[in-house]
């Protein structure tokens, strides 16, 4: 009977980076970051967290504002064309526009941005550091690469996502007002008053929590793929980054569905 050749045993990396380990690194660094900064005992890791958060916010805020503005215009236009007339739009749609944006437009736009910029950046950064042995060098000096290079980048995504949502609310509001102004000549102050009245504090809180959980999930996926053990080879970084982005999109959708089911089950929305 022909037997299957047993695969030769390979040399394995001494340190593995599991999803649970990466999650632990985020909580560990996140937990001691603020106290150390406040006490003036910030090490290179805490300084890196601050730099990453500010850098990611500065680089994504304009894109986020523009994207949500465009989404705001598109959604408002879509709703406008489906209503029977300007009056119906003003009476039926306007009072709900803020809620619609907050529930459907902003999480989608921000999650897309976080995936495109954050997840892709995080995976390719770590994977290229792995290929160039920078991860090995951090291990060699006794520091933990998950805390040193992954956690600051992951925290940047997690902290920035809710901030982008807040920016998104204003940008989407502006987009909605543009359509409303063109369609039913709504005054800006009047529009903002109606918009704000349809956005409850609880709805904002739910969106913020959703985005934090989504960003946390996506950053762990991005880190896991980045650290995936593989020796340096052609196309390694590109391949692993593509896999990570695809998996992050899938995970964002699954997390979103789960959160909607949970919030409906517990009557949160």
């Amino acid at each position: 009977m022909p037997g299957h050749a047993r695969p030769a045993k390979l040399f394995e990396p001494a340190l593995e980076y599991s999803a649970a380990g990466l999650l632990g690194a985020i909580f560990s660094v996140g937990g001691r970051c603020l106290p150390r900064i406040l006490l003036g005992r910030a090490t290179i890791i805490e300084r890196e967290v601050v730099q990453r958060v500010l850098g990611f916010l500065a680089s994504t805020a304009p894109t986020s504002a523009l994207t949500t503005l465009v989404y705001g215009v598109a959604v408002a236009c879509g709703v406008f064309t489906y209503t029977s007339g300007p009056d119906a739009f003003g009476v039926l749609v306007l009072p709900q526009l803020g809620g619609i944006f907050l529930r459907y437009v902003i999480p989608f736009a921000v999650a897309n941005l976080v995936i495109l910029k954050g997840v892709v950046g995080l995976t390719s950064d770590i994977a290229s550091m792995r290929v160039s042995q920078e991860v090995d060098a951090i291990e060699a000096v006794g520091l933990h690469p998950a805390e040193m290079i992954f956690a600051p980048r992951a925290l940047a995504l997690i902290v920035t996502a809710p901030a982008l949502a807040v920016i998104g609310v204003y940008a989407a509001c502006l987009g909605g007002w543009l359509v409303s102004w063109i369609g039913v000549h709504t005054d800006f102050a009047e529009f903002v008053a109606i918009f704000v009245s349809s956005v409850s504090a609880r709805a904002v809180l739910i969106v913020v929590v959703k985005l934090i959980i989504t960003a946390l999930t996506m950053s762990v996926i991005a880190g896991y793929f980045g650290f995936l053990s593989g020796r340096a080879e052609q196309g390694f970084v590109g391949r692993i980054t593509t896999s990570s982005a695809v998996m992050a999109v899938l995970a964002a959708a699954v997390v979103n569905v789960l959160l909607i089911v949970l919030s409906t089950a517990f009557h949160l929305e």
Binding site: F11, E139, V141, G142
Partner: protein
């Protein structure tokens, strides 16, 4: 009475043959072999980055990945962190205990950089350095944590003759003055290995050989391999 082994390797299989040897304090081992012979793979096992499927490695009686503070590693592609300055890279091993950069630490880091001839580069970004300078900075970083054993992959590749001579003298001096207990280095530069190493581990197809410097000088087979500069 012989000293306890600094490094002990038993039965690691590379290129189809098992490698076993012991290294004692005061020794400098040069791992020689052609391209793809497994020199870097062996060094990755010795430094604890890779676990071999068979065999064991111990540094001062411990598994290498549990003896990080005893081992300084200089990587083949220097592996300096790109988003940091030269100073920050060399200071990295001091951050293990969460130390905040202080005056004393600055002195220590600058001293190490000066010893490898890179004191003037301290505040430069890593990506601006030449390949040779990056290698010297990587050596300074490998020595920052005050290790007992240095594992260096191609320590003098891409170095100009003057810098190569400096590094050569520096490495031999470190072991000679007991600042380091030992060095394991993989190199293609047999002349350099011939001048610095006390032992040679020669990885060849179908087997390996560990020879002492004196034996290499006497044996025509190894003398030819280690090159005429030994004679």
């Amino acid at each position: 009475m012989t000293a306890a082994p600094l490094l002990s390797v038993d039965g690691i299989v590379i290129g189809g043959s098992a490698i076993s040897f012991e290294m004692r304090p005061g020794e400098i081992l040069a791992v020689l072999g052609s391209n793809g012979a497994g020199k870097s793979l062996l060094l990755a096992c010795l430094s604890g980055h890779l676990l071999a499927p068979t065999g064991t490695v111990s540094v001062n009686g411990r598994q290498p990945h549990r003896a990080r503070c005893d081992i300084g590693v200089m990587f083949q592609h220097h592996a300096l962190l790109r988003n940091m300055t030269v100073f920050e890279n060399v200071a990295l091993p001091f951050l293990v205990d969460g130390l905040v950069l202080r005056e004393e630490l600055e002195k220590q880091v600058l001293l190490r950089l000066q010893l490898v001839g890179c004191g003037h580069l301290a505040h430069q970004d890593v990506h601006r350095l030449s390949e040779g300078d990056k290698r010297c900075v990587a050596l300074a970083r490998a020595l920052s944590g005050q290790p007992r054993l240095l594992i260096a992959d191609e320590p003098v590749a891409a170095l100009a003759p003057a810098k190569k001579a400096l590094v050569e003298e520096f490495l031999a001096g470190l072991v000679g003055q007991n600042a380091l207990a030992g060095i394991v280095m993989a190199t293609q530069d047999v002349e350099f290995a011939g001048r610095v190493a006390t032992h040679y581990l020669i990885l060849e197809e179908g087997g390996h050989a560990l020879v002492r410097r004196e034996d290499a000088l006497r044996d025509p087979c190894y003398k030819a391999f280690v090159s005429p500069q030994l004679s």
